[in-house]
């Protein structure tokens, strides 16, 4: 009896987990839902062709591939729940790969490499035309991508690169984390301070974002005499930890004038500690605050002058991917295998509301 109850209960838990899973994807489908009515609108006049022929023509012009020649793409991504970056990335892909843009897209999400590889194998069996991949881990992709190539499937990497032979994929669209760090550090150097006493708050150690963004600071501090690291600590992308780290620097009475946080959340935590200690920050403040990722709320902080700088990490790869697929469909060749996206840095002194609306994620 008890065993039975237990199994019922566990089933319930699994079901709840699934519900939660649905919830995660629920944020992004807004785009798909928005697309669905458009499709029905296009279908409705088709049923009554005599009534409004103009509308039908328009719909056909907008959806050239709707005649059944949809391009089949299989998209393997990380869990959109992972971060604001990933949520924006997933929403962007969902908005681009829709039926009226001529795509038949299937999505698979996992933070685990083996599950992603299993998803890739399934997509190969489903005979997709393109396989889009943001790999959880850099290793272990050779054999499955070889299978994809043998099946005549074009592989396009986005957001993250992998350790595999470049011949296995047609293109790779990535953020250059080193360049992001250099951008930010160059901006900081342009501020012309006499002394740079920096609290450097790092992301999860070993991640590509952490390595690139740290390298720029380390190099600069090694090269310049007036650049000092007061504190260099990982807060593991965690705002609370960042708050405690900055708090402990303040408590120890060390002087600093720059907070270089490797993402927006940690910058926010650091600012909370500054606020509590009565240290001014931002434009005209004592401490320069720098963040990464360009969350919408973070750009608003810039707009208010509470922070000084935010470096974009561009999650919008869908249009780049679309362009590549269009080229390949037209029989063109891809000249550049690795495409580095444009990524801007925003300065509190010249950011506008338009920037917040356009680039905020």
């Amino acid at each position: 009896m008890k065993k039975k109850l237990l199994s019922v209960l566990l089933t319930g838990v699994v079901a709840a987990g699934m519900l939660a899973g649905c919830g995660q994807t629920a944020a992004a489908p807004a785009a798909t839902e928005a697309a669905a009515p458009a499709a029905t609108e296009a279908a409705a006049p088709a049923a009554e062709p005599a009534a409004e022929p103009a509308a039908t023509e328009e719909a056909e012009a907008e959806a050239p591939a709707a005649s059944g020649e949809l391009i089949k793409v299989g998209i393997i991504n990380n869990d959109p729940n992972e971060s604001g970056y990933r949520t924006a990335n997933d929403a962007d892909l969902k908005a681009m790969f829709t039926e009226e843009n001529g795509y038949d897209a299937s999505f698979a999400y996992s933070l685990k490499n083996d599950e992603q590889i299993a998803a890739a194998q399934k997509f190969i069996q489903d005979e997709v035309d393109y396989l889009l991949l943001s790999a959880a881990d850099t290793a272990g992709w050779d054999s499955v991508l070889q299978d994809a190539n043998d099946a005549g499937i074009n592989v396009i990497l986005f957001d993250r690169t992998i350790d595999a032979d470049p011949s296995l994929y047609v293109a790779s669209i990535v953020s250059d984390m080193d360049k992001e760090g250099e951008n930010a550090v160059n901006w900081l150097a342009d501020q012309g301070l006499d002394e740079y006493d920096i609290i450097h708050i790092q992301g999860v150690m070993g991640s590509a974002a952490q390595q690139g963004r740290t390298k720029a600071v380390d190099d600069k501090c090694a090269a310049e005499d007036n650049w000092n690291l007061v504190e260099q600590q990982t807060a593991e992308w965690n705002a609370e930890k960042a708050q405690q780290i900055v708090q402990s620097v303040i408590d120890s009475g060390k002087k600093f004038n720059v907070i270089y946080a490797e993402n927006d959340d940690m910058a926010k935590g650091a600012v909370a500690a500054l606020d509590a200690a009565g240290i001014t920050h931002g434009v005209n403040g004592d401490v320069i605050v720098m963040g990464f990722d360009c969350n919408e709320w973070a750009l608003e902080e810039l707009l208010d002058g509470d922070w000084n700088f935010d470096q974009q990490c561009n999650p919008f790869q869908a249009s780049y991917i679309d362009e590549i697929i269009k080229k390949l469909q037209n029989g063109e060749t891809i000249s550049e295998k690795v495409i580095v996206m444009d990524e801007k840095g925003f300065d509190a002194s010249d950011i506008t509301q338009d920037d917040v609306d356009t680039y905020g994620i």
Binding site: Q24, N81, I245
Partner: protein
């Protein structure tokens, strides 16, 4: 037993007292900091960016950040005593309770202009969510006889996803600055609000233990379940209720956590806090196998852990290495409190006493 300890004299009574381990740890940490940098103990009165007076200094930081842990330690002590196991889902349930609170306060909108509901309503909802999670865990442990760690593993794994689902994966930001007071300072009062919240929780649990049989029943169930049943106590209900109480503690901790930054990040909020809460109970000299407990030792243990964390930050220990240092403390504690070790020690002291007698 009591005769034995009386015979052992002052030193033995001191060592065997439950407060001995936490107090030694506290003194050790205090001395290390005093030697390293006496300014650690300096407390200064300054003003924050809103222009109100605030106290600052490492000790204030310890009291401030130790609050959540102290509150969780209260619930964790009761759960440990009654069920002989620990709840490893507290971090995830903090995410759930916090997310439920934000859902109510922001009304499902991630960037509202005003609060959708009074803060108290949000807090009550968080309490209900926390207690529901506690009840779920408690039910599995008490009525389905699942090992506490296995039972709470379910929410440990699923909790953060559930929390994200509650808010449609949005990260709402509370617009009202008043909400931030719970995790920082009330204007005009220089002591962190969290200290008052923790003090209130401690007073409440003190009154409950003083005026109800909760403490007695919990220990009875933890020491011997069947004999407590024979004495008319319902052990299942006691276990169940301790998990619900822990759920309430989780909700209060969630209020502080979410209030600190007026927002939430499901994947990292209160990360690994379960480890600290369990460590607080162990550091308080309480048996992790259940039975007798000392609430004050657990609460002291919680502040000692924060003391340790703050000290390690002060020594520039990389924060991803903190867990390793805490693990060393856990290993020492577990080994010291293991029966094998205790037997060996008591044999050693007995032999010593014997030889002393012979010599005498």
């Amino acid at each position: 037993m009591s005769k034995d300890s009386a015979k052992g004299g002052f030193w033995k009574r001191l060592v065997s007292h439950q407060m001995f381990i936490p107090l030694v740890a506290l003194i050790l940490l205090a001395v290390i900091n005093l030697v390293h940098d006496p300014s650690f103990f300096k407390i200064t009165l300054g003003t924050n960016n809103a222009g109100f007076p605030v106290l600052s200094g490492s000790l204030i930081t310890i009291l401030d950040y130790g609050s959540e842990l102290a509150i969780l330690a209260i619930g964790m002590t009761l759960v440990t005593a009654a069920s002989g196991g620990q709840d490893i889902s507290v971090g995830a349930t903090i995410a759930i309770a916090g997310s439920a609170m934000l859902r109510v306060l922001c009304g499902g909108d991630s960037r509202p202009d005003a609060l959708a509901a009074p803060i108290i309503v949000g807090f009550i909802v968080a309490c209900l969510a926390g207690m529901a999670c506690g009840a779920f865990n408690g039910m599995l442990v008490a009525y389905f006889k699942i090992q506490p760690m296995i039972a709470t593993l379910i929410l440990f794994t699923a909790g953060r996803s559930i929390a994200a689902w509650i808010n449609n994966n949005e990260l709402p930001i509370v617009p009202d600055p008043k909400f931030g007071y719970f995790g920082s300072f009330i204007p005009g009062i220089p002591i962190p609000t969290t200290v008052f919240i923790a003090a209130a929780c401690i007073i409440v649990i003190a009154l409950v233990l003083r005026f109800t049989n909760l403490g007695l029943y919990t220990q009875a169930v933890g020491i011997n379940e069947s004999s407590s049943r024979l004495n008319g106590i319902n052990p299942n209900f006691i276990k169940f209720i301790t998990f619900v109480i822990l759920g309430l503690c989780v909700a209060v901790a969630a209020l502080i956590k979410v209030s600190r930054l007026s927002t939430i990040n499901y994947s990292v909020i209160a990360k690994d806090i379960e480890m600290d809460a369990i460590l607080a109970v162990a550091l308080g000299g309480n048996s992790l196998a259940g039975g007798k407990f000392n609430m004050w030792a657990s609460i002291l243990g919680a502040y000692i852990i924060q003391f340790l964390t703050t000290t390690l930050y002060k020594f520039n220990v990389s924060s991803d290495a903190l867990a390793a240092y805490k693990a060393v403390v856990v290993i020492i504690l577990v080994v010291v409190s293991a029966p094998v070790f205790r037997d060996a020690i008591s044999k050693l002291t007995k032999r010593k006493a014997k030889t002393q007698k012979e010599v005498g």
